[in-house]
Amino acid sequence: MNVSASTSRVADAKHTESTAQGVDAVPRRRLTIAKAISEALTQEMDRDPRVLVMGEDIGRLGGVFGTTQGLLARFGPERVRDTPISETAFIGAAVGLAAAGMRPVVELMFVDFFGVCMDAIYNLAAKQSYFSGGRVACPMVLMTSVGGGYGDAGQHSQCLYASFAHLPGLKVVIPSNSHDAKGLMIAAIRDPNPVVFMYHKALQGMGWLGTVQRSIVPVSDSDYVVPIGKATTVREGRDVTVVSWGLGVHQAVECADILMKEGIDVEVLDLRTLAPLDRDAILQSVQKTGRIVVVDDDYRSCGLAAEIIASVCESGRVALRAPPCRVTFPDIPVPFAPQMERPLLPSAVKLAEAVRAQFVSQP
């Protein structure tokens, strides 16, 4: 499916509820990412009795970030389990459930909370296949919220993409819009490996958080997958490649709109999967444009942006026309005060500045 058409349309909030029935070639109803995730879980739970969901406040509340709306009423407390505040135990339990043939989906409410349960994620889930010589898979999904920009300070605002993408055995995905959210969640559930499904709070569609409206796009009510490991070109351009994911995709598209008026034709890639990285798609685009700018709202050093740029540089397949560039959050804890946090986050304007600099001739 071509995402560029949908992401460039401004969603009408009135149409965020389901209005269409059946499989539409061009679905008319628009969903928030939260609703799209909930729908993906509902359909997979209907299809596959092995799928179950566990986490804090995912039952009666439907998820703090709305990822499990309607599931408890439909599937009951055996398959939709509100857990104690015990991430080590319930994420560890997911590893055991997966080994026993189930398909657990667990929610880590904020990615920042990974500190209390990382062993289950990176030493157990990520290595189960390897340590068993491929005989015991770990088909589980860990969904978790990422991102700041709303004043929630340093323990509730981090992205930590690279922290997870760094670890062999984990797949990491992050949708920029509700269409991809549904398809990636279905793909994640069906994948035989542990998949970390990140959703960005600025896109989630929770009224109390504010939402980038372009993340609310038409979503088919059919069951479809967005393949893990495949980036998509959100917007084609000749002059420069902006590599993005999650919230950054919308900043990149806005940046492309700004620069179009200045005669710079920006190509925007939405990675959708952070691990495994779609290096072919990145290289293909940069081979065409000869310039690369990466937007990444995670910490700067040792980040995904660095990995992407290194991959391009070491490929030997591209002669860059300008030094590669990354627009990132700096190497500091996320500060609380908006006067400190917001100017440091990537934005369309900052990205446009970085892209313009690609066309300033080097001394």
Binding site: E56, D57, G59, R60, L61, V64, D82, T83, P84, I85, S86, T88, A89, D112, F113, G115, V116, G149, Y150, G151, D152, A153, G154, Q155, H156, G207, W208, L209, G210, P330, D331, I332, P333, P335, F336, A337, P338, Q339, M340, E341, P343, L344
Partner: protein, 331 residues
């Protein structure tokens, strides 16, 4: 030991100051968030966890603590910070994200550090417990009578850190008191649905330490239980777990629709507000209403002074975000 008159008046004054503080936070937090509630907006963005109803826990425990006794608190910290003597102006400035805040606006309401009175808090459930064990070990190694107190919610008793910290504190026999503020909910999930035991106090027995349950959300009863535990710790007799039955009169955070609460629960809880009950108790024990009124007025003045200070304080610049990532100088 029952609290004496002056201690009771102090506890009342701290409770009313804490409540006045939360009453002042509410409209300030909602500025810029109406008619459409967006957590990112207004002079105080982000999550806001109010402590209305839990004041007795803070005052009954902190009445026994001095500025060199360590307290680690939770994501819901205001009542404890106030009872521990955290600088109210600097705390408020921090919550407003100002340069003169406790951390210069870097931490916000869940990350209040005031080393002057050995207070800190954190937004990660149960994770203040290990540091409290460390503070207690430092006191023990120094050979003085300082203690550490770690406040947690009842939900934290299901975290691994809770069990590890209790065991370690007992093995090392350090002067630490773990205080569970049981307000019955971890966000939307009730204790009954999440906890294998009816009373978390019994878990102390697994770690060979006293476990004390204090019902009734009553400052005097909490004062007594905490006094015993803290005196025991100061005598070098090791840790104690105290479980306090308290209540949360507001949502988990501001903006919480609270649909998980049984109908009428909040009204019922508010009808037995611990502050009104304590006021009645003090009056029936012969303390003049006028004296309590004066404490309330004084609390209101302190709060309004702190808010005025915070609102007029300077905003930080973006460059300041880069300061203090690493400590400098000798330690």
């Amino acid at each position: 030991m029952r609290p004496e008159r002056e201690r009771r008046l102090w506890m009342y004054s701290m409770m009313v100051k804490s409540r006045a503080y939360e009453q002042a936070i509410k409209p300030a937090y909602l500025e810029g968030k109406q008619p459409v509630f967006n957590m990112a907006n207004g002079p105080i963005p982000g999550e806001m966890h109010l402590s209305d109803g839990q004041e007795p826990c803070a005052v009954g425990v902190c009445a026994h603590l001095g500025p060199r006794d360590t307290v680690t608190a939770t994501h819901r910290p205001h009542h404890i910070a106030i009872a521990k003597g955290v600088d109210l102006r600097a705390m408020t400035a921090e919550i407003f994200g100002r340069r003169s805040g406790l951390a210069g606006g870097r931490g916000g309401h869940m990350h209040l550090f005031d080393p002057r009175v050995s207070f800190c808090c954190s937004g990660i459930i149960a994770q203040g417990m290990g540091p409290a064990v460390g503070a207690a070990l430092a006191a023990k190694l120094a050979g003085d009578a300082r203690v550490a107190v770690s406040f947690i919610g009842e939900g934290a008793a299901n975290q691994g850190a809770f069990h590890e910290a209790l065991n370690l504190a007992a093995v090392w026999s350090v002067p630490v008191v773990f205080v569970i503020e049981d307000n019955a909910y971890g966000i939307s999930v009730s204790k009954r649905e999440s906890t294998a035991v009816e009373r978390n106090a019994v878990r102390a027995h697994s770690y060979n330490m006293p476990g004390v349950f204090v019902p009734g959300n009553d400052p005097d009863a909490i004062y007594e239980a905490a006094g015993d535990a803290i005196a025991r710790a100061r005598r070098g007799e090791g840790p104690t777990l105290i479980e306090i039955e308290t209540c949360r009169l507001e949502g988990h955070f501001m903006g919480d629709a609270e649909q998980y609460r049984p109908q009428g629960e909040v009204q019922r809880l508010k009808a037995s507000d611990p502050i009104s009950r304590y006021r009645q108790q003090l009056i029936s024990d012969g303390i003049a209403a006028a004296e309590l009124d004066a404490l309330e007025q004084s609390a209101a003045r302190d709060v309004s002074d702190a808010f005025a200070f915070a609102r007029s304080a300077e905003l930080p610049t973006v460059e300041e975000a880069f300061h203090h990532v690493f400590a400098t100088g000798a330690v």
